[in-house]
């Protein structure tokens, strides 16, 4: 930026010992009081007048400079000057109220602004012009939100279409080579065929593996979000969302926890403590769980792939929008009832410059979040899978023994059947779905692992010839190569170009077929509608135990229980409406 400075003729400039060249003129009332205080300083405190420029000192004292006031108190003649100062301040307060220092500072800024306007010319900054034009579009209060929704739609389309080949590859590897070689290893160790094999294959591999299958999906999601954040767009999106939040009567700070909630509910709930107003904090904390967290995405991806294969991205996008819609409606309702007072206050934000995302930043972003998901899978989900396996292995009735009992006689089914009837109006009143929803209270990923365990069909039963470790290793490499090529062919799907041959049912695994059959049966032939209702229930009911602990810590036990009961009631009601209204309209 080129700056040319053309100074006018020299004026008075105030220094301690030379003639002033430039002097800022305040309002007549202020100048009068400056003169009063200045005269008092010169007359009563010559020592201070010799140390500081009297006019400068007078202005600083009128602004309330505390170190100088203390020095004045201790100086000879100080009390006399203090009395004159107090009288001047009293007269100025009658005119300007308590904002005397603001008035003085404002005068200086006005002076500098006028001087700069008259003397400084700047060459236009071309990059700033391009960025400004882009911001006018991306942050437009009416166009900005549709653009944001379009961007989010592209995000979900990319996640569902592009990640599917790798998702299928991981699924094949988990149910194929990993399961086969685990069984082979156990046989070598003499542990094959017993409860240990059942625990590892039907419990750990089915449960944890069922969740790890979605690592490619989450990596894809985080990759696109990383590009958006590193490019500088997400700051603009947050800016647009704040305008939207203001229209709902929510504090501008509320959008930060809500945005964080799309990743994970727990830190989002803790982020509400930045809201000083208790009503805003509690209201935001009640709405955070409706921002669908990343842990629920595998459930949506699985069910959308099973029941809406051609529109999976659109369905998932719709689920996220529905969550936002529910948060908006609930927020408006609570604003009119329990949280009547409070107002949205403006937010100022500095936009980062638009830039090309770097590979380093993108990788760091993707890996941090994906490793968090994998860490969760190897801890909580592993523990949950073992517990579920135990419940499925313990016989409650019948003649079976531990790990040798029919599933229908197990403790898990007995417990799940107590919940299942409550979901009959939703179309998924079977124990498999009910049990998965109950275990989903531990963590939403456990819904997937539970379904994988309860619907588990051993692919190895269809194997007639043993497969060597080398053959499985080769299969891993070749299938990965095929998945990579399919992923590249999937990229044009984002814009509707299908490069695949239409091979429909070939991608359906046993798990997907079992879930489809189960939902068809429980819904009387309306499996798609029941699946949609199931996804709505997963969206709206209690996120997880960790989020409950965060709610209790941040909002208190009373509001935690209010949230739990409210979310369960809302989930039950909305999923019931989705299914029943869909039936009336002849959908699904």
């Amino acid at each position: 930026m080129d700056i040319n400075i053309n100074l006018p003729e020299p004026h008075f400039l105030m220094t301690s010992s030379v003639q002033p060249r430039l002097q800022i003129q305040y309002s007549p009332e202020v100048e009068r009081e400056i003169t009063c205080v200045l005269s008092a300083i010169v007359a009563a405190s010559p020592q201070l007048a010799a140390t500081y420029n009297p006019r400068w000192l007078a202005i600083q004292l009128l602004e309330g400079d505390e170190p100088l006031l203390a020095e004045l108190q201790a100086a000879a003649g100080g009390p006399t000057v203090m009395q004159t100062l107090a009288d001047s301040l009293a007269r100025l307060r009658e005119i300007y109220g308590e904002d005397i220092d603001v008035t003085l500072a404002d005068s200086r800024y006005n002076f500098v602004h006028q001087l700069v306007s008259q003397t400084v010319t700047r060459a236009p900054d071309a990059s700033a012009g391009w960025s400004d034009r882009a911001d006018k579009i991306f942050t437009h209060r009416y166009v900005g939100i549709p653009i944001f929704l379009l961007v989010m739609w592209i995000v979900f389309k990319t996640t569902t279409d592009v990640a599917t080949p790798y998702l299928d590859w991981v699924d094949t590897i988990v149910s194929g080579p990993i399961s086969r070689q685990t069984i082979a290893l156990l046989e070598v160790l003499g542990l094959g065929g017993g409860w240990m094999e059942s625990l590892l294959v039907d419990g750990v591999i089915a449960g944890v593996g069922g969740v790890l299958v979605f690592v490619p999906v989450l990596m894809s999601l985080y990759l696109v979000l990383a590009i958006l954040e590193d490019s500088g767009y997400m700051a603009r999106a947050a800016f647009v969302m704040d305008y939207f939040m203001g229209k709902l009567g929510l504090h501008g700070k509320s959008f930060l926890p809500l945005i964080v909630g799309f990743g994970c509910t727990v830190p989002a709930l803790y982020a509400t403590r930045t809201l000083e107003n208790e009503r805003d904090r509690i209201l935001t904390g009640l709405l955070v769980p409706f921002m669908s967290c990343g842990a629920r995405l595998p459930v949506y991806v699985l069910f959308a792939a099973i029941f809406f294969p051609r529109h999976a991205g659109l369905v998932i996008f719709g689920i996220y929008l529905f969550g936002i819609l529910m948060a908006v409606l609930l927020g408006l309702l609570l604003r009119q009832t329990l949280f009547k007072k409070g107002e949205a206050l403006p937010l100022l934000m500095e936009f980062p410059p638009y830039r090309m995302p770097t590979l380093k930043n993108i990788w760091h972003y993707v890996w941090e979040r994906t490793s968090a998901f994998i860490h969760n899978a190897t801890t909580v989900i592993l523990a949950a899978s073992i517990v579920i396996w135990l419940l499925m292995a313990i016989p409650i009735r019948g003649n079976g023994t531990f790990a040798e009992t029919d599933l229908s006689d197990s403790a898990f089914v007995t417990l799940a059947q107590t919940v299942a009837p409550a979901m009959s109006l939703q179309g998924f009143g079977n124990w498999e779905a009910g049990g998965a929803l109950v275990t989903g209270l531990v963590a939403k990923e456990v819904v997937i692992s539970t379904l994988a365990q309860v619907y588990n069909v051993a692919d190895t039963d269809t194997e007639t010839e043993p497969v060597s470790l080398g053959e499985d290793a080769l299969f891993v490499v070749t299938s990965f190569t095929e998945a990579t090529l399919d992923t590249l062919k999937s990229v044009p799907l984002i814009i509707g170009i299908n490069l695949f041959e239409d091979d429909g049912a070939d991608t359906n695994s046993d798990l997907k077929q079992a879930i489809r059959q189960g939902f068809q049966q429980s819904s009387g032939g309306h499996g798609s509608l029941a699946a949609l209702a199931f996804m709505v229930f997963v969206l709206l009911y209690t996120p997880c135990m960790a989020s409950l602990a965060a709610e209790r810590h941040e909002l208190g036990a009373k509001w935690m229980w209010f949230s739990v009961v409210g979310q369960l009631a809302l989930a039950w009601l909305m999923s019931m409406l989705v299914f029943q209204v869909g039936l009336l309209l002849g959908w699904g």
């Binding site: 404002d106 800024y109 945005i259």
Partner: protein, 94 residues
């Protein structure tokens, strides 16, 4: 000029972009930053750059992730410099 900046922020029907505010008032961005800092010192504006990261650290890894500090929570979105307007002293809550 100082009061005009505050007035523009108070009367805005939504969030305000600092660069756009500077252009509207024909104020150089560096001068605007000084005025913003003045209102922060007066308590009318509150700066908020990484509060969500701080609170996420306080959760102590409740989401079962090893939390090594404010910058390590992978789910926290790090937004640019942000300010919020505080109510005027005579508009305190009832």
């Amino acid at each position: 000029m100082l009061k005009q900046v505050l007035y523009e922020i108070e009367s805005a029907q939504g969030p305000v972009n600092l660069d756009a505010l500077g252009r509207k008032l024909n104020i150089d961005r560096s001068a605007l930053d000084g005025m913003i800092q003045f209102w922060v010192r007066k308590g009318r504006l509150q700066i908020q750059d990484q509060p969500q990261a701080e609170t996420a650290a306080v959760c102590g890894g409740a989401c079962r992730i090893n939390c090594a500090g404010p910058q390590s929570c992978p789910f926290v979105m790090h937004l640019p410099l942000t300010y919020y307007l505080n109510p005027a002293p005579d508009e305190g809550e009832e």
